[in-house]
């Protein structure tokens, strides 16, 4: 329940044309004010819960996207903003473009539009919040399961 109240986002520009980035930043301005939902743009993967990616990923940004995703602590969700991030858009046929963020990391919410409007970006992030809560339940289940297995191994001295 607290994840819904305080999601922190990190925004990365995976070779977009900058149109969508400006819209992401616009949704933090006084006009749209994402912070009233407790959303903070952290700029630090270790603090973030929601990964907002824009742009059709290419070979040089692929490792960065993957790296940021791996550095984020669980539970986490990914929001792909803009039609480039969802499918590659007009750049889909380019020789060096992978065509969408979901070719590299699992994506939970797709926000279409070229460029995606701040309203739809906010809507996408709010949709991601519900998924984030579900992720928390899964994460805790996995954690308790891991702990149980560990205990079992220790009991039968299987881990040394």
């Amino acid at each position: 329940m607290f994840f819904k109240k305080s999601p922190w986002i990190i925004h990365y520009d995976a070779t977009s044309c900058n149109g969508c980035d400006i819209e992401v930043v616009a949704s933090l301005t006084p006009m749209y004010d994402l912070e009233r939902f407790g959303i903070v743009n952290t700029g630090n993967p270790k603090h973030a819960d929601i990964f907002v990616v824009t742009g059709a990923v290419n070979e040089s940004s692929r490792m960065v996207v993957k790296n940021i995703y791996d550095q984020m602590p669980n539970p986490k969700v990914v929001v792909a903003v803009g039609i480039c991030a969802t499918s590659g858009g007009v750049f889909r046929e380019c020789y060096n473009v992978l065509g969408g963020v979901d070719k590299v990391i699992p994506v939970d919410v797709y926000v279409p539009g070229c460029a995606a409007r701040p309203e739809s970006i906010i809507d996408g992030i709010i949709t991601a919040l519900d998924i984030l809560e579900r992720r928390l339940v899964e994460f805790r289940k996995a954690k308790s399961e891991a702990r149980r297995q560990e205990k079992k191994l220790r009991r039968y001295h299987l881990n040394d």
Binding site: E35, D49, P75
Partner: protein, 295 residues
């Protein structure tokens, strides 16, 4: 008789300690929430709810904790423990000098935590934290010395019950303290080491590598610290608890406005300006007081 008077005159120190340890994080968190709300309003935004800092901290406790180095958590835990210890010493009416030393120790542990990980952002953040400590420590000690000169004691409870307003004797020391208060509250011209806002040159500075419950502990430790710092403001106005309360709130509001109107200083400017203020206002005040107090 306000609750503050009542608290100062409590005789049972265990009760005092419990009240402090339980109430300080609540007050600190609310202050942080009010801070964010007022900042948002100053920028023409609606802003998060007042209890947003509590949501943040509860969320952080449920998040996965990524540990890159086991000394990292050890140091942060020590920072937290010493911060609570420092605050308790102060609010139980202990020795002001001891409070200052314990506060410095807590700061050192935070810097050590920053140095214990490999991230260069953390290292620069920790270096800047040390520079900040070097800048503000002389002034904090001058606060204690000034209060001793006027009241003849270092004990916080005796200073808090002194009937004459300390601010009349120590206006320079008070101005110097206001200057370093901005550093200690990590407000804008001096938020070099770590800052809540993204897109600064250091990612999040000192706390870049800390996640989950460790980050939450840093946050709560900071709330304890803020309450302690406001408590020191109160000592300057302790002759009347209502005036003291008003002074704390007004000065906190003043700090929020400064936070919203200043760009970040470089560390050289931070260091120079703080020592200049310390010499000009703090030391001068104490020298004048010394000669005027002589028979």
């Amino acid at each position: 008789m306000t609750p503050i008077d009542y608290y100062i005159h409590l005789d049972n120190i265990y009760l005092k300690a419990v009240v402090y340890v339980l109430l300080a994080p609540i007050l600190g968190g609310l202050l942080a929430g009010v801070d964010r709300k007022i900042s948002a309003r100053l920028q023409g935004r609606i802003g998060p709810p007042i209890i947003q800092p509590f949501y943040d901290v509860f969320k952080l406790f449920r998040k996965e904790k990524i540990i890159v180095n086991k000394f990292q958590n050890f140091n942060v835990n020590l920072f937290f423990v010493f911060m609570v210890f420092t605050g308790s010493l102060f609010f139980l009416g202990g020795d002001l000098l001891l409070v200052i030393f314990a506060l410095t120790l807590a700061g050192v542990f935070l810097a050590l935590a920053g140095f214990s990980v490999n991230s260069p952002y953390c290292h620069i953040g920790a270096e800047r934290e040390l520079i900040q400590m070097m800048s503000y420590d002389p002034m904090i000690i001058l606060v204690a010395v000034g209060m001793y000169q006027v009241t003849g004691t270092f004990r916080v409870d005796a200073i808090a019950m002194y009937d004459e307003p300390l601010i009349i004797y120590l206006p320079g020391v008070f101005l110097g303290y206001l200057h370093i208060l901005t550093i200690k509250l990590r407000k804008s011209p001096f938020d070099l080491a770590m800052s809540a806002h993204a897109h600064q040159e250091l990612v999040s500075g000192l706390k870049t590598e800390f996640s989950g419950s460790t980050l939450a502990l840093i946050e709560i430790g900071h709330w304890y610290e803020n309450v302690l710092l406001l408590g020191i403001i109160y000592l300057f106005f302790a002759f009347n608890s209502l005036v003291g309360l008003a002074a704390m709130l007004i000065l906190y509001f003043f700090e929020i406005i400064i936070d919203n109107t200043y760009a970040r200083f470089k560390w050289e400017l931070t260091f120079k300006s703080t020592w200049l203020v310390t010499a000009l206002f703090g030391a001068a005040n104490i020298i004048i007081l010394y000669y005027s107090m002589q028979p």
